[in-house]
């Protein structure tokens, strides 16, 4: 019996953290625990959630993608430019932007895989390229007047549920399907677990690594479009610092920075924990700046907890039946 409980705690303990957090804020302020606020929270988690699915793939292979935040800005600016200034059909605009960003992703992937340069540096460099690009498109000016048809992606509802939430569920499902069900889903875990052993087992390491960064760019683009629809404005600074939120969501949710492990539900739980925290702190009217400090501390705590748990695992005596 004791074994079962500690097994559950070990693997799903983070859900407990989420529940405690929700209960805490609910007790402290009654306006937190309403249905409409809960919907707001999950909707706020959606954009980070969608982008985090892409980051999950990267982290599983033992890499990191710092470009996602500014990629989201670039996506917003470019799509806005296509739709407003060029009057392009929204669907066409989105498709082109997906292609462009995934090509950028593939470039990052090729540099990481073939030249063996650390993903940290490569993606950081591209991050700056995308940042400059975001400003360059309109010389730093915001883009207004986006077509309403497009904005449903961020504003619309299906029944009582906001579209962004549905899209996040869809993104999570895609991630789950590839990672859990397909044969190439295992490739990501293998490369993150032991790249040399993966290579010697016939796994196409280079191709998989390139695909990893393309996938990250795909989901970053996806998130960027939803964000654009949500705020109805093309603003160059939209995604600034988003990579931090995304990585935090993954790590808090339980994805290991060392690679080789991580599941989509970690991403979901992590995104929710951050969204609940943001929302709760706003309701408590705590300063924006304090929020930033808290988020940093929480990331630190999450990583420490993860580490301590791993050390405990090897010492723990589980009483077998």
């Amino acid at each position: 019996m004791k074994g079962r409980v500690s097994h559950i705690l070990k693997n799903y303990g983070i859900v407990l953290v989420l529940l405690i957090e929700i209960i805490f804020f609910g007790l402290v302020n009654h306006s937190f625990a309403t249905f409409s606020n809960m919907i707001t929270v999950v909707r706020q988690a959606s954009i980070v959630g969608i982008c985090s699915v892409g980051m999950l793939f990267v982290l599983i292979t033992g890499g990191i993608d710092l470009s996602v935040g500014w990629m989201m800005s670039a996506v917003g600016m470019l799509t806005g430019y296509f739709m407003v200034t060029l009057g392009m059909n929204p669907i066409l605009a989105c498709l082109i932007v997906f292609v462009v960003m995934m090509v950028i992703g593939s470039i990052m992937g090729i540099i990481v895989a073939k030249l063996r340069i650390a993903p940290f540096i490569v993606t950081m460099a591209l991050m700056n390229v995308l940042k400059g690009f975001s400003y360059l498109i309109t010389n730093g000016k915001n883009i207004y007047g986006l077509p309403d048809s497009f904005c449903t992606i961020g504003q619309g509802y299906i029944g009582p549920i906001p579209l962004p939430i549905i899209l996040m569920i869809f993104a999570l499902f895609l991630g789950w399907f590839v990672l859990e069900k397909t044969y190439f889903g295992r490739y990501f875990y293998a490369i993150g677990g032991n790249e040399e052993a993966a290579m010697l087992s016939g796994i196409p390491v280079t191709k998989t690594k390139v695909a990893t960064y393309m996938i990250s760019s795909f989901f970053a683009t996806f998130a960027g479009l939803v964000m654009l629809g949500r705020i109805k404005t093309g603003s160059p600074t939209t995604g600034n610092g988003y990579e931090f939120d995304v990585i935090t969501a993954c790590v808090i949710g339980g994805v290991s920075m060392a690679g080789g492990a991580g599941k989509p539900y970690h991403v979901l739980v992590g995104s929710l924990i951050i969204a609940v925290l943001n929302n709760g702190l706003i309701i408590l009217q705590i300063s924006e700046y304090v929020q930033v400090i808290l988020k940093g501390l929480i990331l630190l705590l999450a990583v420490i907890y993860d580490c301590v748990q791993k050390q405990r695992q090897s010492k723990m005596v589980v009483l077998e039946g």
Binding site: K181, F184, A190, A198, L200, S201
Partner: protein
Amino acid sequence: MKPILEIKNLTKIFPGVIALDDVSMEFYPGEVHALVGENGAGKSTLIKTLTGINRPDKGEIIYDGAKITDFSPIASKKLQIGVIYQELSLVNHLSVAENIFLGSAPRKGILLDRKEMMEQAKRIFEEMDLTISPNVTVKDLSIGFQQMIELAKALAQNNRIIIMDEPTAPLSNSEVEVLFGLIEKLRKKGITIIYISHRLEEIFRISDRVTVLRDGKHIVTKETKDTGRDELICFMVGRSLKNIYPKRKPAEGKQTILETSHLSGNGIKDISLKLQKGEILGLGGLVGAGRTEFAQLLFGVKKKESGQIIYRGETVNIRNPQQAMQRGIMLVPEDRKRQGLILEHTIHENISLAILKMISHFFIINRKKEASIVHGYINSLKIKSYGIKQKVKDLSGGNQQKIVVTKGLATDPEIIIFDEPTRGIDVGAKQEIYMLMNDLIEQGKTIIMITSEMEELLGMSDRIAVLCEGHLSAILEKEQFSAQTVLRYASEIDAEA
């Protein structure tokens, strides 16, 4: 003479297993005390307890008359107990001298005294008869030389007890002689050596006494001269093992399945040889002769510079392991932890690693098929574990090796290259692997076996190809098999027959 180290009723329990069960022993100054036993017998646990990594659940450790109460690697360092592990503990990016003095470098106040460090390192190398510059970076050395550096480290730290865990596994025969010379010197200084090895020939050569552990229990301690190989094996496995190298029918007919023609690249120089279907071709040579490098060319890990590989009569270009596997060539790599396994993953994930695409239907993995394949191999190879969801890192060396082999066999290859198939595994598991190799031959497969263990090379091969410095020195037929012949060709190119 009083013992320098005494162990009384030492017990250590891990989840589900009693690793040490009421073990009592004594070690004397200036003795070479061998410790033998199958994997899982408790040798590693004993070392870890002596060096403070594990805290015993019961029992006492008495060092130089005083009971040990503080268990940590730093405390054991103060006691001057040094260990040389199977998995080397060197820092790859640092120089050899820096590694030897890691944590105990000579200083001038707070500054590192590099000059003194280099001088001391040079002196140690002279004493060891090694020609290595103290400035060389560890990662540029072969595993054999890295092992020597570990020894130099132990010497530098003036340990009174040195524990050596499988020290000769990566060493060439000449390096082993150097090691044994060193051990003699250490013994004369009154240093105690606890020598753990599966290589019984070595134990009979250099040890004074030998202790057998089995299933965590102390079975027997004897003067080495009072016992023999068969008796030791009997104690180790609890049964007698006749015919370690199982006999098999020689291959009928000669059909060349694989041929290399003037193959060069990756350190290999102009190797031409023919591999006959149904044979075990042993690949012998000193460490650094190029055996693994040759295998890497055949398996597509490295690119050839010139020459050809001809498979079933067809010249092929193998550019990566995938292509090699498609042709039916599989490699079981040398270093199972770094190259063969994903330690954090489970047994079933490791076994199915090379056949993921094959067990899938339209991208989706057929889990039932996967489970049945995995269970099939676990049964037929007798892999011991708590279940297929167990992490591979928790298994014994022998079982880990079986998993690497299984992963390769699952691809149903025609040619299997085994690189050091029984390194660091116990006698019982070794036998199982030999029998497996025989089964594979009987099924019509062909094996290239790279091994540094002379007995294994002579016992299992149908023919032996001896490499020396990247060249093919000789191909020996069964009638020519002898340790001297192999060694001669391994040391000189084109020696007279």
